[in-house]
């Protein structure tokens, strides 16, 4: 049985199979509308995450399956002190597959070791969020037509942003990717990621402070929020925050076919005026998340 705990649990071939299947769903959704009839997805959300949970639920319902679960630790047996191991043992007999969001890092891995049904990590603390990575890869693949030969800018909080870490881990497996890491000094990518992933990869990277200077070279810009609470003093935050707000003026510097991605929720790092730009694909990206999760559920249930 296969689980999806880390983005790297899937080989490049398996990953491409899922992306291809997601594309097939978009092209012929009716072909898949009853494929999970009689199957149940358990959504074990120990912390609130409306967007991800609803995306999983929509995915299973689109496949003709059913959904059960809880949406906060308070409304589950976790409030009584039940362990993840015990919860998943029980849920395994109620459902056919489960998606787990947990504030503690590694909780889905623990679940997978005790589970008799496939476990999908729907986010564990600041650690992994593999279905977001699948969504990001699908968006890039679908809208750029390739996952190689790309100059990819990551902008904002590169230190704490798990979606950035996961996507870098996934993209280094493709050829001729140039990573442009745009962040304030205080929010640079963690050293371990630079040393263990980027330095050991055949792909190139650069770390810069100025978004405008590199915008013309980018094929993709992955925006994340610069979080005020991460700064030691407000002066630094005020000095830096505006450098990373993407607005229409900055977009004039970008290529005509550059894409702007964002894992959402967006706060103020992308001005709403950018939303109408055809290169702003973050809402499309969220929509694609449902198709990717449908494909993943089908693959893990071995119905496709």
């Amino acid at each position: 049985m296969k689980h999806l705990i880390s983005p790297l649990d899937l080989s490049v071939t398996e990953l491409e199979d899922i992306l291809e299947l997601a594309d097939n769903i978009i092209n012929a959704p009716k072909n898949y509308s009853d494929i999970c009839h009689g199957k149940k997805l358990a959504t074990l959300f120990y912390e609130p995450s409306t967007r991800t949970r609803l995306s999983f639920e929509a995915a299973m319902l689109n496949l003709g399956g059913n959904v059960l679960g809880f949406s906060s630790a308070d409304s589950s047996s976790a409030a009584k002190g039940e362990s993840v191991a015990d919860t998943i043992r029980v849920i395994s007999s109620y459902a056919d597959i489960c998606a787990m969001r947990h504030p503690k890092e590694g909780a889905p891995l623990v679940a997978s070791t005790y589970s008799s049904i496939p476990v999908i990590n729907a986010g564990d603390g600041g650690h992994n969020h593999p279905t977001q990575t699948l969504t990001d890869l699908f968006t890039i693949s679908k809208l750029k037509g390739r996952l190689n030969n790309l100059t990819v800018g990551f902008c904002g909080d590169l230190k704490f942003g798990r979606t950035v870490h996961s996507l870098i881990n996934a993209l280094v497996r493709y050829e001729n990717i140039h990573f442009v890491l745009i962040s304030p000094e205080e929010l640079k990518i963690p050293a371990y990621l630079r040393e263990e992933v980027l330095d050991t990869s055949e792909n190139s990277y650069e770390e810069v402070r100025n978004l405008e200077a590199v915008l013309p070279s980018l094929d993709l810009l992955y925006m994340t929020r610069v979080q005020k609470e991460r700064f030691f003093n407000e002066e630094d935050y005020i000095r830096l925050k505006d450098s990373f707000i993407l607005d229409s003026k900055k977009m004039t510097l970008a290529k005509e076919d550059m894409l702007v991605l964002h894992p959402l929720p967006r706060v103020n790092e992308i001005a709403t005026e950018v939303d109408n730009d055809k290169r702003a694909v973050y809402f499309k990206q969220a929509e694609f998340g449902v198709y990717v999760r449908m494909a993943l559920i089908m693959k893990l249930l071995e119905v496709a």
């Binding site: 993840v84 503690k104 890092e105 623990v110 603390g125 600041g126 650690h127 371990y192 263990e196």
Partner: protein
Amino acid sequence: MLNIGGLNEGIVIDHIEAGGAMKIYSYLNLEKLDCSVAIIKNAKSNKMGKKDIIKIDGNLDMDLDILGVLDRNITVNIIENGEIKRKRNLNLPDKVTNIIKCKNPRCITSIEQDLPHIFKLTDKEKGVYRCVYCEQAFKRS
């Protein structure tokens, strides 16, 4: 009676980072041995400036490679007939279970009872061990 200057039969755990001997003593449960054990703290070292040394007047029946997880610079000298019979650096094991604990408060090991603490060697050159659950690197200090 243990001669601090030398051993006839036993083990010398050398090049322990200064201040680290008690941690090693505790990990190896040396208090349970009925042979003599000497802990030398802050010994002068050309290589390290200061170091700790543990001398055990007897044999230990355990895999000492595990010590490399706690302090990768340690060397182990096996003493026989008053001479160093073998002197070796420790080979870092690929995986260790319940030797070191994950200190990441966001890790599932911080709340889940009876979960084994498992670390994997992810960078052999630098001796980096990461928790299999949260991937946090183990810090030796």
